[in-house]
């Protein structure tokens, strides 16, 4: 956990005061909405269908228990008692009042939470692997570099008015849980042949209207050059990204139009012209940040504690353990994923009561630390295995132990037309119906790992392009219809899904998904051939036939 020092806190507080003044000037009429809109976006404040929406940053998805409690407090005091965790490791509150926002921000600032640059045409939350720092086989904790980038990009005077939003993601594991290939800049932390830390840098990934998988611009940028290289990319983008058409303004379009070689050459030219050493990330710089990351004082624990052996006879506990508990790099500990996808529930939501209770559990069982994943689930990263049975009982009471992580009912969905003013169709009720259709856990386990992603419009906040099954809401003659794609992936083998056929109406989506799953079960070579691999092997045709045979 990174500990903010006085300087970090001062900056956050100064930001709160600036926004307080801006809100005052807006409400008095001194600032028009046109002038204010960009300012509020830079503090994460959107206008949605029913109300303002407030998006709070959770840098690289890491929270302390006091911070989680404070989020619960904001949900209760300023909102309707719940929050929504997003696909970029942030949290959203949906009913916030503009007049009360400065106070909400002030309350959050007290525990080092802010909402800077969670919206607007600037650099957004640097997301990472929710298992950072605890995953076995990780090269180094990517959050150290995420924090470095967070500071570098916060209120950067040159890059606060980019052509469009800009998103970073970092992974330090062979298996990419941060989806770096669909970010504007994706960074893969690894060591070169000399054992030095550096990054494969990818650019131009992104979803939305024109999805692209990111391309490698440089296979190895030494750690000390990370900031200067990123500055070169941002400067080229700031100057040459399109400003005439918001649908063509992301860096992915610039990379596509120039071609990766030419784009890389432009960046290199800029980079070589940078002679100053102010941006060099030397050992002292990294040590300064690393020194303020605190790691737990892990005990020396056995691989198989008694408590776990005893609990193994309980089939419900075992099912949950098999599904939601993952190997930790330290013996005797585990990473526990908490599903926020209960049957019939809105995916990714948590109530203030759940947050408070979870903060207590984090204190008791996870050294006071909680993680947020981009699949809209939470995690407790440092749980002693001997505590798993007790933890499970507590989580189960809170509704945070649905054993469906990575299964068909672990659905990623955007807020959709129930909340969002950009949406064409609803997504949450589709997700809820699907969790009901696949509520039987035996069935879900039988199906195996299957990621369903739902977006209510082409902006793709649900990441439908990279879903194993992707569902995109569209509008046809005032009615909600949905396009279905299959075969997408968000990991190191990232791929875009393929459309299976014409859009289907709202009432039929769950049936179609059931048909697709049935087709998969019939066609898979072996029980452990994943859905997405069956699609790769056989293509879309057999699924298309099954779904559209009677439609």
């Amino acid at each position: 956990m990174y500990a903010y020092d006085e300087l970090d806190r001062t900056l956050i507080n100064e930001r709160v005061e600036e926004f307080r003044d801006q809100v005052k000037r807006r409400l008095s009429g001194e600032l028009t909405e046109d002038e204010f809109k960009m300012l509020r976006l830079q503090n994460g404040v959107y206008l949605q269908l029913h109300a303002y929406m407030f998006r709070v940053a959770i840098p690289y998805g890491t929270l302390s228990s006091p911070q989680l409690r404070r989020l619960a407090h904001v949900a209760r005091k300023y909102d309707r008692g719940y929050g929504h965790f997003t696909t970029r490791q942030n949290i959203q509150f949906n009913w916030i009042k503009l007049a009360e926002l400065p106070d909400a921000l002030g309350d959050l600032a007290e525990v080092g939470i802010h909402a800077m640059q969670t919206s607007g045409n600037n650099t957004r939350n640097v997301t990472s692997d929710q298992w950072a720092g605890v995953a076995p086989g990780e090269v180094e904790d990517p959050r150290i570099w995420s924090e470095l980038l967070r500071q570098y990009t916060t209120l950067h005077p040159e890059f606060s008015f980019l052509p469009r939003k800009f998103k970073f993601a970092i992974t330090a594991s062979a298996h990419d849980r941060a989806a770096i290939k669909v970010h504007d800049i994706g960074l893969r932390l690894h060591r070169n042949a000399q054992g030095e830390i550096g990054f494969e840098v990818l650019v131009g990934g992104g979803l939305g209207r024109t999805p692209f998988i990111g391309k490698t611009i440089k296979p190895f940028v030494h750690g000390r050059d990370l900031l200067s290289y990123v500055e070169a990319i941002l400067r080229v983008y700031n100057q040459y990204g399109r400003r005439d058409n918001i649908y063509k303004a992301r860096i992915k379009i610039l990379v596509h139009e120039l071609g990766i070689e030419k784009f890389a050459a432009e960046v290199d030219e800029e980079w070589r012209a940078m002679s100053d050493t102010a941006l060099v990330v030397d050992d002292a710089v990294i040590e300064d940040i690393r020194s303020r990351f605190a790691y737990p004082a892990y005990e020396k624990l056995p691989h198989m504690p008694e408590e776990l052996k005893k609990a193994a006879h309980d089939p419900l506990f075992e099912r949950w353990r098999r599904n939601s508990v993952f190997t930790h790099k330290v013996q005797g500990y585990a990473i526990v994923t908490l599903s926020l996808k209960p049957v019939g529930g809105p995916p990714g939501d948590a109530t203030a009561d759940q947050m408070d209770a979870l903060a207590d559990l984090a204190d008791k069982y996870s050294f006071g630390e909680i993680r947020v994943g981009h699949e809209q689930n939470l995690a407790l990263p440092h749980v002693a295995k001997r505590d798993l049975p007790a933890l499970w009982k507590a989580l189960d009471k809170l509704g945070l132990a649905t054993p469906n992580v990575n299964l068909v009912s672990d659905i990623i969905a955007c807020p959709g037309l129930d909340y969002c003013s950009l949406a064409n169709a609803r997504s949450i009720p589709i997700a809820q119906e699907l969790t009901r259709r696949f509520a039987n856990h035996d069935t879900a386990e039988l199906i195996g790992r299957l990621h369903i992603n739902i977006s209510g419009c082409i902006n793709a906040c649900g990441h439908h392009h990279v879903g194993h099954i992707g569902i995109l809401g569209v509008e046809k003659n005032g009615e909600e219809f949905y396009q279905i794609t299959i075969g997408g992936r968000a990991d190191e083998n990232a791929e875009l899904g393929i459309l299976i056929g014409p859009a289907v109406p709202y009432g039929e989506v769950a049936d179609v998904v059931e048909d697709i799953v049935e087709a998969y079960l019939a066609l898979r070579e072996r029980p452990d051939e994943l859905f997405v691999d069956t699609v790769k092997r056989l293509g879309v045709e057999p699924f298309r036939e099954r779904v559209y045979a009677t439609r």
Binding site: L11, E30, N121, T153, L155, E158, D288
Partner: protein
């Protein structure tokens, strides 16, 4: 439109000259890049202080040879959302060591003042009177800055290093 120069509302010694208007002998004028490049030597010879207004969608290359003879360079924010001039400003100040007046024109609003100062602007043609009056207050809004730019404001990182040094020196 008030001019804020070096932190204070100031009288503007420059006149914006339209392309068609005649160049006053010995005047202090701001002219368009197009006009300047038509006859740079001629214009420089005729004026006492010359400023060039450089568009934000054009590389600085053609301007660079004349930097040390210009009294001012004006960059443009056609909309406050268009941030290209910030890059131009930093390049002029930090890469090309431009030391003359660097002026922000166009939609220059209070909430961008500090970004502009950090990018190297020292003169702002402020759109609203009330914003100009609030300049001093606005410029003091932040005391912590994460990233180094050419404005000389010490970064958080350096302050931490300094703190560490002074702590270990005790």
């Amino acid at each position: 439109m008030p001019l804020v120069k070096n932190g204070k509302i100031a009288a503007d010694i420059f006149v914006h000259l339209a392309d068609a208007a005649e160049l006053p002998q010995g005047g202090s004028v701001l002219i368009s890049a197009a006009r300047f490049l038509e006859n740079p030597e001629g214009v420089l010879a005729k004026t006492a202080k010359l400023g060039v207004i450089w568009p934000n969608n054009r590389d600085l290359d053609d301007l660079l040879p004349y930097l040390d003879r210009l009294a001012a360079v004006a960059l443009v924010f056609p909309s406050f959302r268009d941030g290209r001039a910030y890059s131009q400003a930093r390049l002029l100040r930090e890469r090309h060591s431009y030391a003359g007046e660097l002026r922000a024109t166009g939609q220059v609003l209070r909430d961008q003042f500090l970004f502009m100062l950090r990018a190297g602007f020292d003169a702002l043609e402020v759109k609203k009177e009330s914003d100009a009056e609030a300049f001093a207050l606005t410029a003091r809004r932040y005391s912590v800055f994460y990233q180094p730019t050419g404005d000389g404001r010490i970064t958080a990182l350096h302050r931490r290093m300094q703190q560490r040094h002074s702590e270990s020196a005790r």
